[in-house]
């Protein structure tokens, strides 16, 4: 009998790790959004003095790592592991970003769910006694994602209203074995859900069933009442995806519509022409590291279920006509 396992997908920690600090860096568009006051740094230029979008993204990862350590007043040398990932082929933003750090690193890929995945794994490393300090880092960059997944920036193409806008940003979360919270109490690891959606311009609809599946599993495994959390916040479903997830959960008897929120909806204003909302690894990472962590620290939110969502597609799979497999990882975070 596994003493830390609850049900099929959930882990409950015996000594819940503390989120000791976070840091976030975002691009100019995100810096004009409603969450601007919560970010540590807002870039005035997407290239940030680098030669390419990819190098700029790596620089965000590098800088957000040192900011995270700084915000925790911890020497970088006391970090046991870095868990990091991004959207680019072979996760180059993450690897190049931590290249000079000299810290043991696990590269992780979960598309836009990567922040949930790294926090889950990091919390398990700490509760398992394998590490005292783990930094989780993820990033995305509008320009590097556009050229990899869509079209050149200057191509005069229209986006349909269901399309989402990749967030330029990087977030860092430092998990620690000691501290006063907020704590990572439980995690629910998602399984891949694919409802056969093939439209790359409607990822919210592709990911919503995965988010609903993980949230449902979390309540089933833990037996918690549906009103237990102050907020359940998905990663980057966007406006349409959030609505769909709410519908799917309702038809399974889980009515959380009033507390269900989405990072992709929160990060941009309707007026910002981001269509259905933000997306990308940097979306949930910066909204958590910036806004949600601040709310937890100040006690405005005390119990949240953070559910980053990922669409596990590649340009190759899309061109070969495959549907989009999706995943969502839930991280339950509570004060005290």
């Amino acid at each position: 009998m596994l003493e830390k396992k609850l049900g099929k997908q959930t882990v409950i920690f015996k000594q819940p790790p503390t989120i000791a600090a976070t840091a976030s860096i975002v691009g100019p568009k995100e810096g004009k959004g409603p969450l601007a006051p919560y970010f540590d740094q807002i870039l005035d230029n997407e290239l940030w003095g680098e030669r390419s979008w990819e190098m700029a993204e790596s620089k965000m990862v590098r800088e957000v790592l040192s900011k995270t350590a700084l915000n925790a007043s911890k020497a970088v040398s006391r970090i046991d592991y870095i868990l990091a990932g991004d959207l680019l082929n072979q996760c180059i933003a993450a690897s190049f970003g931590v290249r000079e750090s000299g810290i043991p690193m696990f590269g992780v890929f979960g598309a836009c769910s990567t922040m949930g995945e790294t926090m889950s794994l990091g919390a398990m490393l700490i509760d398992g006694g394998f590490a005292s300090n783990v930094v989780c880092l993820t990033s995305s960059h509008f320009c590097s994602a556009e050229r990899q997944f869509r079209f050149p920036l200057e191509l005069g193409a229209q986006r349909p209203p269901t399309a989402q806008w990749t967030v330029t940003g990087a977030g860092g979360v430092l998990l620690s074995s000691e501290g006063t919270g907020p704590f990572v109490k439980k995690i629910t690891t998602g399984k891949i859900v694919d409802m056969g959606i093939k439209d790359q311009n409607n990822m919210g609809a592709a990911m919503a069933p995965a988010a609903a599946d993980t949230i449902f599993a979390h309540f089933e495994d833990t037996g918690l009442p549906q009103d237990y959390y102050d907020m359940i916040v998905t990663g980057d479903l966007g406006r349409i995806g959030r609505e769909i997830a709410d519908d799917l959960l309702s038809s399974n008897g889980i009515r959380i519509g009033s507390i269900l929120n989405d990072c992709g909806v929160m990060i941009f204003d309707m007026k910002q022409d981001a269509h259905s909302g933000g997306s990308g690894c940097g979306c949930s990472a910066t909204v958590f590291a910036g806004f949600l962590y601040d709310r937890l620290k100040k006690g405005k939110l005390n119990k949240i279920l953070f559910v980053p969502t990922g669409a596990l597609l590649s340009p190759t799979s899309v061109q070969q006509g495959e549907s989009i497999p999706c995943i969502a990882h839930a991280v339950a975070i509570e004060n005290g």
Partner: protein
Amino acid sequence: MQQTIMSYVNAFFIGGLICAVGQVLIDKTKLSAARILVLFVTVGVVLTALGLYQKLLAIGGAGATIPLTGFGYSLAKGAFNDVDKYGLLGAFTGGIRATAAGISAAIFFGYLASVAFKPKPKQ
């Protein structure tokens, strides 16, 4: 003078109409820009071969030559002309011969653009 003004009016309506068809296809079928362009060129070639595009051109002028269907028209017309002059070989030489100026210009200017300009993200 009257004739010149009419040439602008006709170009506007025929050109606008062809683009409007493209927009309906984009919104209704979710075809990407690349597929729309491929479709329009091919349709232009076929309509010209059937002798239909010439009628549109007679009315629309630049309204029919500027859209990519007009590129298809030039390709097909070039192939026909060269077939008439050189026989079967013409099917292979005519299309590119007739469109050489446009294709070469696009490649050369495109190359120069890459040297001179940088892409910029939008807010």
